[in-house]
Symmetry: D2
Subunit: 269 residues, 4 copies
């Protein structure tokens, strides 16, 4: 920047407080992105970015505009893999040992209604969370999956009916190889009382109603059954699974969480 | 204010653009309040205020700090009735023909579980909306009531079960005499598939499950049945009733609205 | 639908309550869309839809799935003009005299920094609001434009500095001919203390700082100056302009609103 | 519960999946609370609760209604200290080794304007976060403090003016003795470019404008200066300080975070 020569660069001043900053950067910046998807070529969506780096104690400030320049360079398709390049780039451009990016966006999957087969898009909230430290990066994939949950207790004690509701299941996974967003969605939808859809005709509505009734799950069952499936998936090293049921009989939620670090890191040497 | 003498009062400057402002004031100010309640002496809660006045074309600006002073004066209990005094006060203090106040707060009602009778508090979002024009004021009472809705179609076409979910019913009412918040809540809870509660033991859960199943309602039924009850209530001159079902089989809501101005104003003279 | 023959169609049952429903439909459905833009071919973004129709008193319910089918048909680019086709289609598919659609999405404009000319995208929240009644439709364009506002009073009474902050200006306009989203943005950004940008280098930061200081505006000035520009724009028949300043010296906002119906409808015959 | 005898207790069934649940309970329940305050006897406000316990692998479910019963018992004033009793109670009532409670509420402090001395209430978002494990509990106090930040770079490179904005500083602290909410607020407000107030007259507005201009701080300076003060406070063992500037020249935020565990736990024996 030629402006460095004529204008004071306050951010580059030395700092005497001897306090490093764990994360400094930009938050809540929106930008359009293209995401690789398993079942189609790619999809266009809009992401919100948080981007931070580590700032050593001897620098007064970071150069916020460089984060924007890194996003602007990545006009091409972003995948879980190319996302790693952005991590490397911010730590390099900001001369930082460590970097952190969160990129959150609505993601759409084309689903077929269970009986009529009519297709419609369902929306999921997805976040890529990346951390880089000394050029080694870890990327977490986080997906919020809306499902139906039906209460086993309500079913068992009632002469007919059972309360059910929309639930949000959130899976956050650290993987050792490439995993599609849709792969995590499949795991969760299989374990729910029922999947949800945007478009259902009457035969479909009958199907999902009976399916949920035949398949009651507590919020505890949801996270355990999904944890069982994630335990068996060798591509996943570490996960958190959460379920929040927006209870139809209360004005508050039921909630459960399981976290598991499956692998300990191999000893060096 | 003695500071008027020594500092320029930019807001009181004349304005030559010849454009009046319909509403000007403060937004999103939080303040603790005490609300009169039907079944107890009063309750303490926290309100968010929006307060606006009309500004004629010849004034450059309003005096924002005076809105805060009006709130500060009303440390005492606020009712739908005393709320009218605040309306009069802002139009007087700001020298305005018209004024507008919205005051939104969570409100709690002590409910008894339907079988065990165990009591717990349920929360409702309430807004007082006041308008004053030439010293005549109108006050709307708006209450969001969470309930259970159970789908009649799903029940009818399915061999067992029926999808149900939490719904928000919102009633906004202009009344010709005093109406308690609890009165509007009663109307709505009576017409829902079932009421919701914070605390339910198993016999209660059996009761609300079967109650909802026996009482299926579309979002259309909810607003119509509530409209019927509000039509019959002579204290209410004008209302809007809305229902939003957070569908347990979709990731979007079903929604319905009925508005009715029951009375035309009497001719003068 | 062949399922009509084998399954009861509860929604089509007659209804005896004799209460029509002003709006019934779906709310908060997300779907990807493509929007025509003034300065580029088109852009991809994600919209949230609310879609309602009028339901006469003799029908028990509407057919919610048909709203989804209308959205699914419009995979092509949506403009303010083609949006009118969706309005016509929902009223036809749902056999309703009246229909209402709201479609809200983040929209991006490529802006050049004022001195260095570096380009970056800025995000705006846009809503198309459409109403159709007896085959006559009206479409409102609503845009939220983030700007900088700098307080004239603070500037005048202080020996140096002046408090400033981010403000949201919202323009809702009914037009008699095509108006680009960017046209409304231009009107607002011209009248603010300063525009905001995603990417600013130091010479740009100096420019916007001094520009805002040279151009102080109360929230009242913002809405008046924008109203003046909208009054002069003959393409606009009716508008609401709102400004909310997220005050840097308070924890609440300053707010102002002007509404103007410029034309009265021509008398018939 | 006598209902245990007549109705099946599904939650108490044995579970064969051999997966423990880290957290299970209720989320987003609102309840009025009274909080002890430093400068007045106590204050009434409304809290949102999340309450979870650990569930061993051999139990199918937890008893959600017991969380509500624990809240209902604590109608009396809640302090950081009495909050510990709720933690002990949920782990005991739910027969769990571990428990977790988050209680979030708006909190008000009566502030005097800097010149006129006029008093008004300012609102802060406060959360008590409690964890208990094997009867040992830790309680974190988290406070969000709105302040003004003024940009040092903008001030230095501009001939006049400087961009400033509202910022949210969040301090989360683990203490080894009692610390008032107001104590954390004092630390932060002292280090900001300026405090914010609900009620300011013109002499006050002049004061805070000049005060901010005389006291420019990057988001990095904010967290460092507050970290310095927290480092010197021996009552605090561990803290996280975050600052988010809602930049007046951008539509995104600047953000910084410092975390410090000051003490390592003493070795046993």
């Amino acid at each position: 920047m030629s402006d460095n020569k004529i204008m004071p660069d306050v951010q580059s001043d030395p700092d005497s407080r001897q306090i490093a900053i764990d994360k400094v950067g930009i938050k809540a910046l929106r930008h359009p992105v293209r995401i690789a998807s398993r079942d189609a070529d790619e999809q266009h969506t809009v992401a919100e970015f948080n981007m931070y780096v580590y700032l050593p104690q001897h620098f007064k400030g970071t150069h916020m505009s460089r984060f924007i320049e890194v996003i602007n360079k990545h006009e091409k398709e972003i995948t879980l893999q190319s996302f790693a390049a952005m991590l490397a780039e911010i730590s390099q451009r900001l001369e930082a040992d460590s970097g952190h990016i969160e990129m959150s966006f609505p993601y759409f999957v084309n689903k077929s209604a269970p009986v009529t087969g009519l297709s419609s898009l369902l929306d999921y909230d997805v976040t890529f969370i990346g951390e880089i430290h000394n050029q080694v990066s870890k990327i977490y994939l986080k997906v919020v999956i809306p499902v139906t949950s039906l209460c086993p207790c309500s079913k068992k004690i009632s002469d007919y009916g059972a309360h059910n509701q929309r639930s949000h299941v959130t899976v956050t996974a650290l993987t050792n190889q490439f995993v599609w967003i849709e792969d995590l969605i499949d795991v969760v939808e299989k374990e729910a009382s029922s999947e949800v859809y945007s478009l259902l005709k009457r035969p479909d509505e009958k199907y999902v109603t009976e399916q949920a009734y035949n398949n009651p799950k507590f919020v505890e069952d949801l996270v355990r059954d999904i944890a069982g499936a994630l335990n068996a998936d060798e591509r996943i090293d570490h996960y958190i699974v959460e379920a929040e049921n927006f209870e139809s009989i209360h004005n508050h939620s039921a909630y459960a969480l399981i976290e598991k670090a499956k692998k300990t890191l191999p000893a060096a040497g």
